[in-house]
Structure formats: structure tokens, C-alpha cells
Symmetry: C2
Subunit: 134 residues, 2 copies
Amino acid sequence: MRKMQNLSKNQQIIFDLIDKSPEPLKAYSILFNVQKRGIKAPLQVYRALDKLVEIGKIHKIESRNAFIACQNSSCQISKATAFSICESCEKVTEINNSNLSKYLTGFKDKNGMKYNKYNLEFFGLCKKCISKKS
Amino acid sequence: MRKMQNLSKNQQIIFDLIDKSPEPLKAYSILFNVQKRGIKAPLQVYRALDKLVEIGKIHKIESRNAFIACQNSSCQISKATAFSICESCEKVTEINNSNLSKYLTGFKDKNGMKYNKYNLEFFGLCKKCISKKS
DNA sequence: TTACAAAATGTTATATTATAACAATTTAAC
DNA sequence: GTTAAATTGTTATAATATAACATTTTGTAA
Ligand SMILES: [Zn+2]
Ligand SMILES: [Zn+2]
Ligand SMILES: [Zn+2]
Ligand SMILES: [Zn+2]
């Protein structure tokens, strides 16, 4: 049984903000939003983000430099992440597909590397944006 | 038959530099290296990089903000990229595995999104770095 | 319950990555 | 040759992220 991670004050403030956001948040947008709660400097935000990523409560969407709360119970999956990104409305969803994660976790390339982590980002158009175009 | 893309002067200079580099290059490192060849401003570098990415001659390693020349004949594959990244020595290799690319190109999630592109980054330890640790 | 170490915080400054805005020049197509 | 598109040149600035150092809080164990 894994010990429950209690978040520190800044970590909790920033996690709450990200967790209730319908879209990925950028670091300076987070900073702007938490200034009223006493977090004044970029470094305070980045330190909390680093920790939250490390413990799997949030993920960084690398292609967008933005952060999203984990949708998948946050335990082990932070080392095996997949996202779908709509290039029109920028909606981002964490993909939770065991077939996909099994395939990628088990993937071995001929180069002899030992993988312990992956991050996959799919790009395309979401349902809404497809129908808007018709 | 796709028309041969002739690169412009700046594009060629920057592509040559990236292509002969054994490791991914960052934009400002590129800038520093091409200043003797007349490219003086960040924007000149970023414009060339954007174009080279667009036509598939190079790829951006999103987790590293760095650029690598395409190893896979550069035609169609720029919409289906996969890389292996050693977290110890930072060696990056483009993965060319048709099983993997078929699996991911054909991947359909239950969310109804239409994907036209993906980028996958695997992290781990390369052979050399594994043996160094023993 | 104190003493120690680890983690988190606060703060200022600075480094790194990337784009806006506008003018001029080169290239390619008709 | 004329025109449109692409590329280049240039200055300034926006956006993202870390260095360095001092202090405080928290957890652990003697
Ligand atoms: Zn997750
Ligand atoms: Zn959409
Ligand atoms: Zn490639
Ligand atoms: Zn290595």
C-alpha cells in the first residue's frame, strides 16, 4: 500500500486550480490565478508543478507547455502517458486504453534500450470540431 | 512523385548543421553556430526550423526543445514520429519500426477523435549507459 | 522534546525559448 | 516583365524556466 501523499500548501492550491480547469493550464496563467492566494513568484509555481508531475497528480503536455490533472487515478501511470489533442479547439484528453498502454509498455526496439517511461501525443480534430466544419 | 524541395540559403545552412550533429540541437545553440555564416537573429533560426519541421527534414524533440534531422527519408513520416531518449547521456534516436507505426496510425480511441498525427517519446537508458552502471 | 535532516517556501535576479511587427529582397510562376 | 509568394533582415518584446541564497516548516529518530 502506497503512502498517501499529502500535498503542501502551494502544491494543493496549484493542484486544485489545475484539477478544476477544463483545459490544460500554462505556468504563468497559473501564477496569475494564484497571486491572490499568496503565490507571487514563478519559481513557487514551477516548484509545485515539478512535484505534482513527479508524484503523478498532473501531467505536462509537452507540445503545449501546459499542465493537466491526471484522469487515471494517478498512481503508476505517470510513466506511461497518452493524450489526444484537438488542433482546432485545443481540447486535451488523457487516453486510458489498456491495449495501448500494454503495447507501448512492452515495446522493445532493436537498439537494446531499456525503457522505463513514455509519452505519446495524438493530434487531430475532436468530434465537435469535425462537425463544425461540415 | 513529390517535388524535390530545394532549401533556401538559411534553411540549408541550418539543416546541414543539424544533420551532421550527433545530438539534437537547441535553437540558440544553432544560432551561435551559424552566426559566422551570417545568421544573426533568433527569428532567422526559428523560421528555418519551422519550415524544416513542416517539410519533414527535421523533427522537434518536444521534451527537450531540441531538433534532430529525420532518419527516415523524411517524406511522410513527419506526421508519425517516435523517438528513444536516454535520460543519462541524452542520446536521441528516431525509431523506425513499421509494427509500431502501423499500430499507432491505426489507433482509434472511443472518444471519436480523428487523428492525423502523433508524436511518441520513449525514455530510458541506452546500452552504453546501462553497462556503465554495472 | 530535542536535535537533525529533508522538504518546502520566499525572494531577487537572470537564463532560455519563442514570437510580434514591419520593411526589404529574392524566387518562382504566369 | 509583372506579380504573388516565399524568404530574409532587423529591432523589440513576450513567454517559459532556472540559479542562487536565505529562511521556515515538517518529518524522523535519538
Ligand atoms: Zn494520468
Ligand atoms: Zn476540437
Ligand atoms: Zn523522421
Ligand atoms: Zn545513454
